[in-house]
């Protein structure tokens, strides 16, 4: 008997953490060893999955944990609509569904020895967090790691305890920033928009790749900064999201121009995207 392509597996919530207002990370355990092994045989950093609650539906997020942590997967999502509310209403010990991993991945095996720059805004750090941990778990294979991360307010920064952990490491350069007015009295790092802070930090493009993920407005103003710094479009990566249903190239809704985000992405270089006639279609 062939397999039902749309049949998810049932995973138990092993841990759950509230990251920011309405933003939660859940850690999911595999139902059995074969499904765990099958997942990690396929999973590369950048891939996504469909997380679901029967009766509500499924929603698409990246896998926010790296392939170097092979006992579980984590995802981070914001409670926005029907499905994400149903997911957020589940407690530790209860179950959710998962299908995946789907899509392409960041080609980190070609980045050995390179310097890696991360530029992220708000809820868009989770897709890059898996890459960050993947690199840090294999730290010796990569060059400098620089992270520029901003959110509207201090409260909106996700993974606060991990930011502290990265800041304390000697082998990561972390710059955090909040939008003007979003700071708290004890805020010690930058105040300003991500593109401005990125420009001030002026990371070198020599032997480097940049990964950019954030709200459209942040990406729009960060790309010219990276261009001015000398990053070629082929060395700038981003990961796209669009509304999806199937995740496997059949339901027909996630295309941006000729690209299916689910099959040709979600990871694209800016070089690929600039060939598209229109950025948001």
């Amino acid at each position: 008997m062939t397999e039902n392509l749309y049949q998810p597996m049932t995973m138990k919530i092993a841990a759950s953490r509230d990251e920011a207002p309405d933003v939660r990370t859940v850690r999911l355990e595999f139902p059995d060893e074969p499904s765990r092994a099958a997942f990690f045989a396929k999973y590369r950093v950048g891939m996504f999955g469909l997380y679901g609650m029967p009766g509500a539906g499924e929603s698409t997020f990246c896998v926010a944990s790296p392939p170097t942590r092979t006992e579980y997967i984590e995802c981070t999502f914001r409670r926005v609509g029907r499905v994400t509310s149903a997911l957020a209403d589940r407690d530790v010990g209860q179950t959710l569904t998962f299908r995946g991993p789907y899509g392409n991945f960041f080609p980190i095996e070609t980045w050995k020895g390179k310097n890696i720059l991360f530029v992220a805004g708000g809820i868009a750090l989770p897709p890059l967090r898996s890459v960050i941990w993947n690199l840090l778990d294999r730290r010796a294979e990569f060059g400098n790691v620089t992270i520029v991360y901003g959110a509207r307010t201090v409260a909106d920064l996700v993974y606060k305890h991990e930011l502290a952990e990265w800041a304390a490491r000697g082998d990561v350069k972390l710059i955090t920033t909040v939008d003007p007015g979003g700071e708290t009295p004890d805020w010690k790092d930058k105040i300003g928009f991500v593109p401005t802070v990125l420009k001030q930090a002026a990371p070198s493009p020599a032997g480097a790749v940049a990964l950019v993920c954030g709200p459209p407005i942040m990406i729009k103003f960060s790309l010219p900064v990276l261009k001015d710094l000398g990053f070629p479009p082929g060395a700038i990566y981003t990961t796209l999201e669009n509304r999806m249903k199937c995740g496997v190239g059949k339901c027909g809704r996630c295309n941006v121009g000729k690209f299916y985000v689910c099959k040709d992405g979600p990871v694209f270089t800016v070089e690929q995207l600039q060939d598209l006639p229109h950025g948001d279609m």
Binding site: T2, Y6, E58, R243, G249, G252
Partner: protein
């Protein structure tokens, strides 16, 4: 050759049904002719193009693809077996048969869709050559022919001025129908009628060439102004395969349904957070045309339209994709001058 009287398709249907086939055919239903499951007494009409396409029998408008039992806070997934009922589709138009190449590809590139494949494997397709076309038919503009047999397991060819039908088996599945038909098919001789004349309305290569350079053309706004976003074009289209997945729940169980969807609907690409990358109807119409005449050809080396003309027949606003393609070719030629 195998023949039957053109008024006796019901006998063929009855013979096949008696041999364990579910039979579907173009059947009179109130004022319309619809491809639907045959039952004794149903009137088969081969003189009119059915309002729905053959895709309904491979990719139904709504089907259950997931199911869970609910107990308290727990859910238990249950298997949903695919439908593999042995089915014969009678008198399907060549444009609908041509569309199966696209559906076969979409449901099987990389990931395989067992719900589609189980129905497809159990399906015997009997096409019928067209000897008449209406003003909306444009198969010849998109690489088709009114008497094309490609993709069919057997073909019915009207003969002797419409009095007879020649039954030509083309595959093993088609031969199996001859065996199952028994006395409903007789040996004899008849002269096949000439195929319908379907004028060429536009050159799809010209459409593709214009699409490559005109994503931001103002023509998209002009072409789509009449569109109501009702989705009739997508629902009647033999190649449109976009679907939605929706959950329904009672206190005891949940089901996940796959339902037809349309890129013409405003909610199709709407994100939960409020952003909609295709914010207006012209962007949605552009996607419809791009998908059929640019994206599918790029990816699968197939045209995404088979010229059945249903979208034009059914559109309440009088839009037709053939007219739009012809308009695009005209715009393209005007640019060259």
């Amino acid at each position: 050759m195998k023949l039957l009287d053109s008024k006796k398709l019901g006998d063929l249907a009855a013979a096949l049904a008696a041999n364990g086939y579910r039979v579907a055919a173009p059947i009179q239903e109130d004022d319309a002719v619809r491809l639907k499951e045959w039952s004794p007494g149903a009137v088969i009409r081969t003189d009119a193009i059915p309002i729905n396409s053959a895709k309904d029998f491979l990719f139904p408008r709504s089907e259950i693809i997931g199911r869970c039992k609910l107990e308290g806070d727990n859910f238990t997934p249950e298997d949903v077996p695919p439908d593999s009922t042995k089915t014969a589709l009678l008198a399907v138009r060549p444009c609908d048969v041509a569309a199966l190449a696209i559906l076969d590809t979409v449901f099987n590139w990389d990931y395989k869709d067992e719900f589609y494949n189980a129905r497809r494997a159990a399906m015997t397709i009997v096409s019928m050559a067209c000897t008449r076309a209406d003003a909306q038919c444009f198969c010849t503009s998109v690489g088709g022919r009114p008497d094309a047999s490609a993709g069919a397991d057997a073909i019915l060819r009207p003969a002797d001025g419409g009095a007879k039908l020649i039954f030509d088996p083309l595959t093993e599945k088609g031969q199996a129908l001859v065996a199952a038909a028994g006395g409903a098919l007789a040996d004899g001789e008849a002269k096949a009628d000439p195929p319908a004349e379907v004028p060429v309305r536009f050159d799809p290569k010209g459409v593709g060439a214009w699409l490559a350079d005109n994503f931001d053309s103002d023509l998209w706004t002009t072409l789509s102004l009449a569109c109501l976003g009702c989705g009739a074009c997508a629902y009647s289209c033999p190649t449109c395969h976009c679907f939605d997945m929706q959950d329904e729940a009672t206190r005891k169980e949940t089901v996940r349904r796959r339902n037809w969807d349309s890129c013409g609907f405003g909610l199709f690409t709407a994100h939960a957070g409020g952003h909609n990358p295709r914010a207006n109807q012209s962007a949605r119409w552009r996607n419809r045309v791009m998908h059929k005449f640019s994206y599918i050809p790029d990816r699968f080396k197939l045209l995404g339209c088979t010229g059945c003309g249903r979208c034009g027949r059914l559109c309440p606003a009088g839009m037709a994709i053939a007219d739009i393609c012809a308009e695009i070719v005209r715009a393209s030629e005007a640019l060259k001058k």
